[in-house]
């Protein structure tokens, strides 16, 4: 039942925050913090106890009939992969609330309602084991996110929000068609109508497999995003409020990656293998393209947004390398990218709150003014360029180590992308924090709230860099179980 609570707390908290917003601006913030914090603690408790569960497929499970006549279940299940994603979700959820503490001053109650409902949708995506429920949660993420951008966003928020909505919705519809196709084909071969994940595994799709897989793939590739489906991202990330950017980059993109790992490869192993060369190519191109695009951006937020395109390329590369090393690396990259990019967005948001601009040309020489903020930005910049000792390096190195055995060409191109990440990260640090303080900025350094956020994420990335095994063990168990259930076992060796 705890799984229902994980989502329920957020849904109820959201409604409470929305009402509380009528009386006070401070109350919704605290309600959100407590609700998400409770979820975070619950998830960590599950994690701490997870080692004792041995080889059971799920750490926890809730399964009841929802619409029996159509074979729809309310089926939530938790394994190591979902658990890691949930912990990331709640951690970044806390960060989003903290990041909005002073930034959001209007309609505070409704803001936190949307924030928590997005998070509950994301949690639902990570937990749903019924494809109908999954689609439901997938759509649930979309609407509150749209509001977050369109109400509390920056200058071009309407354009960005509509673009985000259209991209996600169109690709989501493709996935719906694919889900229905799978549903009917499964019925034709077995005579059973079901949306249940474990039953749909191993469905013989014949010639339709590639097309059905593509339906899923496009939806996930838009979210990921894979080049050339990425153009919604820079706009959405840039125009969203800080919390929105953190959630978009840290979590929403991960739902795409999660979908690829959980659904695309296990459900359509043959098609995935057939499609792998194209996916690897897209990934390698995306890594380089994102990095090159990031280099020339003058809007700091847009720069960080393009780095996401680059980093999520590693995830795509890792997943379609179809081996254990690369897949583990992809999961690691997902987590570390959430922390490092989330932190960068917090910093950019903090800067914008102080300077009222995101333009790199207006910055410069900030190190002398705000040494702590600058030091933190340097740290996460270094994480972004893959400095060993930080988590991102572990993930990216494992991905490339795994992809090297599959495609040397893609790996070489990827290495060039890593090199290009040096260009943008150093340029960002130089333009914003070094050089002379030409505009004579005088702004306050990190306040205790921001410093706390930074310390959490810095410690997290160092931990993941030096003791990645703590996380890798958790996901290994899940990925192993995934192999047991699915015929893809032979692939992920």
């Amino acid at each position: 039942m705890i799984l229902v609570w994980l989502i329920g707390i957020l849904l109820i908290g959201g409604v409470l925050a929305s009402f509380a917003g009528r009386w006070s601006a401070q109350l919704p913030r605290w309600i959100s913090l407590i609700a998400i914090g409770t979820d975070f603690i619950l998830a960590v408790i599950i994690w701490a106890g997870s080692a004792f569960h041995g080889s059971r497929p799920w750490l926890d499970e809730v399964d009841c009939n929802w619409v029996p006549s159509l074979g729809i279940h309310f089926h939530l299940a938790l394994d190591g992969l979902s658990l890691l994603m949930l912990i990331l979700t709640f951690l970044l959820g806390i960060m989003s609330v903290l990041a909005s503490w002073t930034e959001i001053r209007e309609k505070v109650g409704f803001f936190h309602f949307n924030l928590m409902w997005v998070l509950s949708g994301i949690a639902g995506v990570f937990l749903a084991m019924d494809l109908f429920l999954f689609y439901f949660a997938w759509e649930l993420m979309l609407v509150p996110m749209y509001f977050l951008i369109v109400i509390w966003g920056h200058e071009r928020r309407v354009y960005a929000a509509v673009k985000f909505f259209l991209f996600t919705q169109c690709s989501g519809l493709l996935m719906l068609i694919a889900i229905l196709a799978l549903y009917f084909i499964h019925h034709r071969t077995t005579g059973v109508y079901t949306f249940e994940y474990s039953e749909l595994l191993g469905t013989k799709l014949g010639g339709a497999e590639l097309w059905v897989m593509l339906g899923f793939f496009v939806a996930f590739a838009v979210k990921l995003p894979a080049v050339p489906l990425h153009t919604w991202l820079p706009d959405a990330h840039t125009e969203a409020p800080t919390a929105g950017s953190i959630i978009l980059a840290g979590l929403l993109l991960k739902t795409g990656a999660y979908g690829l790992i959980r659904f695309v490869v296990p459900l359509f192993p043959d098609a995935a293998r057939e499609f792998a060369p194209i996916a690897l190519g897209l990934a390698a191109i995306g890594i380089v393209y994102g990095a090159v695009m990031a280099y020339s951006q003058t809007d700091l937020k847009r720069l960080v947004a393009y780095t996401s395109v680059s980093h999520l390329g590693f995830v795509l590369l890792g997943i379609f390398s179809l081996n254990q090393l690369a897949l583990q690396g992809a999961v690691m990259t997902m987590i570390c990218h959430g922390l490092s990019t989330g932190a960068l967005f917090v910093l950019v948001g903090g800067l914008q709150e102080r300077l009222h601009t995101r333009d790199l040309g207006q910055m410069g020489g900030l190190w002398a003014v705000v040494p702590r903020l600058s030091g933190a930005a340097l740290f996460f910049g270094l994480a972004s360029l893959g400095l060993p000792g930080l988590g991102d390096f572990v993930g990216e190195f494992l991905v490339m180590l795994g992809s090297y055995r599959v495609s040397i060409a893609a790996t070489v191109v990827t290495c060039l992308g890593v090199l290009a990440s040096t260009f943008y990260a150093l340029r960002m640090v130089q333009r914003a924090f070094q050089g002379p303080n030409a505009h004579a900025w005088k702004i306050p350094d990190l306040n205790p709230r921001e410093a706390f956020m930074m310390i959490v994420m810095i410690v997290g990335l160092l931990w993941l860099g030096f003791f990645p095994q703590t996380v890798l063990n958790t996901s290994a168990q899940a990925l192993n179980n995934l192999q047991v259930q699915s015929p893809v076992a032979a692939l992920w060796r």
């Binding site: 153009t231 020339s296 030091g375 572990v394 090297y404 150093l426 130089q430 050089g435 030096f466």
Partner: protein, 622 residues
């Protein structure tokens, strides 16, 4: 005692962390005590470990300390583990000891700088990363240290960040070395994929078991590692970053860009010498790179005005010697030259720092002069180090180590007369540019008046290093014997007309020739040098060498500008144009179609009739 090994990198790490977190609240005295003290403690522990290693040698003359399993995924199992053998021990001793001296020097040199504690934090982090690089028992941990020193190099070159030029130099250093690192990481992928481990000792065993000499994978892997080494050690064609790296504070140049970090490439090749022995063509490439670099950089050093840039090119050139030694299979000679070079080149930089400080930040040797009397301690120690660098025969450390390399370039198995000639020519260039610098700075008429004199903390390291620059030479035989357990001895193959004595004699004569011409051009008839560059050929050559053979210009035109151009031109992302086109098409068709909503019944009736006709026609003519 040997169990304390982990403390050697851990202490500087801890001190760096404390300085980063609380540095702004520490007084300068405490920051300096912590910064220099942690390195001093590391040095003491290193000596204790060395004593233990010598008195009770561990089995196989190597000691492995396992700390924890770093990663364990699908057969990939790098550890956080330390590996100590005679090779890493020698490097450890030099890094901690010279590092300690330079930290002491920095405490005074940087005393008026606002970023005092930040400086020591970065320096400590550097030493810690360097020690990790040396001690890592697998290539991934080595790579962690490798990138760590690269980061510290970036941070320290750009230490005075207010000047954008320093930032540019810092980024250039980081990016150029990272180009090499990219090759190196590919090498790691290749090695792991084919040999299934990154543990260095296992890797070497498996390589010699699975790969035949000259096999494709062995050569490719060795060349990829060489790419990393070339970047970090500033060898052709990636040497362009080092001269610009002189933008950093002088102690940084002494520690990172002379004594320790830039020799990481030498260490990497020595560490993986088994692999390079399996790949003769890659090893030949090492020798050729070394020989070319030592000549080209020597020529460039001859034309520079900035005392630090002269020393930078000199460093590039001397590391060229080490590469030459590695390339011909004289592994021990390369390490010997590393040791002596660390002493005398650190000293030269520290001396240059004193001079620059004394003359109110003047860098040009042509505006200096006559400092012999003004800064006696600096003069004498600088002279000793200079003689050692130029190879004053039979007395200085540099002579012994360099001539061993020159001799091995002739006599070793992979030696070749051309390599030997390159070494001899390099010695001539070295003597020329060294004494050019010494004569210009310390002799002749007084240039800029001295405004500041060094205190004890700055002169003490000079004296100690000066002592070592001479005594170091007599360590030759013990050092080579000690290294024997980690590195194979040089196989002598060619002797013929040139014997070791003759080679040394020729080198001695070359030294004297260099000294004489330097004396002629830069002390006796100072206008002669101007005459040389007065004619067009001399002028062109001078400018060409001065600009580092134009490599910077080429790289800028071939790589940097096109990249920036490609990035800028596509700033608004051409992919988006497609989606914008879709949006435009949608809007356009909406507008066009909405024109049909005229509200006139006649128009609608016509539309319905036309539609009916069309459908009927489709049915009929199906």
């Amino acid at each position: 005692m040997i169990r304390l090994l982990w403390l050697i990198p851990a202490l500087p790490f801890a001190s760096a962390a404390i300085l980063m977190l609380f540095g702004s609240r520490l007084s300068k005295r405490w920051a300096a005590t912590l910064g220099a003290g942690s390195i001093g403690l590391s040095a003491v522990i290193t000596i204790l470990v060395a004593i233990s290693f010598l008195t009770t040698p561990p089995a196989g003359h190597a000691y492995t300390q396992f700390l924890w399993t770093w990663i364990d995924v699908g057969g990939f199992r790098p550890q956080i583990g330390l590996y100590l053998d005679s090779l890493s021990l020698v490097m450890l001793l030099v890094v901690t000891f010279v590092g300690f001296l330079i930290h002491v020097y920095s405490a005074e040199f940087m005393s008026e700088d606002a970023g005092f504690s930040r400086f020591f934090a970065y320096m400590n982090l550097f030493v810690a990363s360097m020690l990790t690089l040396l001690l890592g028992n697998n290539l991934l941990l080595l790579y962690l240290g490798w990138e760590g020193v690269g980061l510290c190099s970036y941070l320290l070159i750009g230490f005075w960040y207010l000047d954008p030029a320093n930032g540019r130099a810092a980024r250039k250093a980081f990016i150029v070395t990272r180009i090499g690192d990219t090759a190196m990481s590919l090498g790691l992928f290749l090695l792991f994929t084919h040999l299934g481990t990154l543990d260095i000792q296992n890797l070497m065993q498996r390589a010699s078991a699975q790969w035949t000499t000259g096999s494709f994978y062995a050569v490719t892997a060795a060349l990829l590692l060489l790419g990393g080494a070339v970047g970090k050690s500033a060898q052709l064609p990636l040497q362009v970053w080092l001269p610009d790296a002189m933008a950093g504070p002088t102690p940084v140049s002494a520690l990172l860009h002379a004594a320790t970090m830039v020799t990481a490439g030498v260490y990497l090749i020595a560490r993986t010498h088994v692999l390079f022995s399996l790949a003769p063509s890659a090893q030949l490439a090492v020798a050729v790179v070394g020989a070319c670099t030592l000549l080209l950089a020597g020529c460039s050093a001859l034309t520079q005005h900035d005392i630090k840039r002269i020393l930078a090119y000199s460093t590039v050139s001397q590391i060229g010697y080490m590469f030459l030694a590695l390339g011909v299979g004289a592994w021990q000679a390369a390490m010997f030259h590393f040791v002596t070079h660390a002493f005398f080149k650190a000293l030269l930089f520290l001396g240059a720092g004193v001079v620059i400080n004394a003359l109110d930040d003047e860098h040009s040797i042509f505006r200096m002069g006559g400092l012999r009397k003004e800064l006696p301690v600096t003069f004498w120690t600088f002279l000793i180090a200079g003689c050692s660098l130029a190879g004053l025969p039979f007395l200085t450390a540099g002579f012994f180590s360099k001539d061993l390399i020159i001799w091995d370039a002739w006599s070793a198995q992979n030696g070749h007369p051309a390599l030997w000639i390159a070494g001899i020519l390099g010695a001539l260039l070295t003597a020329l540019y060294t004494f050019r610098m010494i004569f210009r700075v310390f002799f002749g008429p007084i240039g800029i008046p001295v405004t500041k004199r060094p205190g004890f903390a700055m002169t003490m390291p000079l004296v100690v290093l000066g002592f070592l620059s001479i005594v170091g030479g007599y360590l030759k035989q013990p050092l080579l014997d000690f290294l024997h357990s980690a590195l194979p001895a040089t196989v002598e193959a060619h002797a013929g007309v040139v014997t070791e004595i003759r080679s040394e004699a020729i080198a001695a004569v070359i030294f004297l020739i260099g000294l004489y011409f330097a004396y002629l051009f830069h002390l006796q008839k100072r206008n002669l040098a101007d005459v040389l560059v007065a004619n067009p050929i001399g002028r062109t050559l001078h400018d060409w060498w001065f600009a580092d053979w134009g490599l910077d210009w080429i790289y800028d035109k071939v790589f940097v500008q096109p990249f920036i151009w490609a990035s800028e031109i596509n700033k608004s992302d051409f992919v988006d144009a497609f989606y914008a086109g879709v949006a435009w098409l949608t809007r356009w068709s909406y507008q066009e179609l909405s024109r049909t909503e005229t509200g006139r019944v006649r128009w609608y009736a016509a539309g319905m009739a036309a539609g009916s006709v069309l459908f009927i026609a489709m049915v009929v003519f199906k």
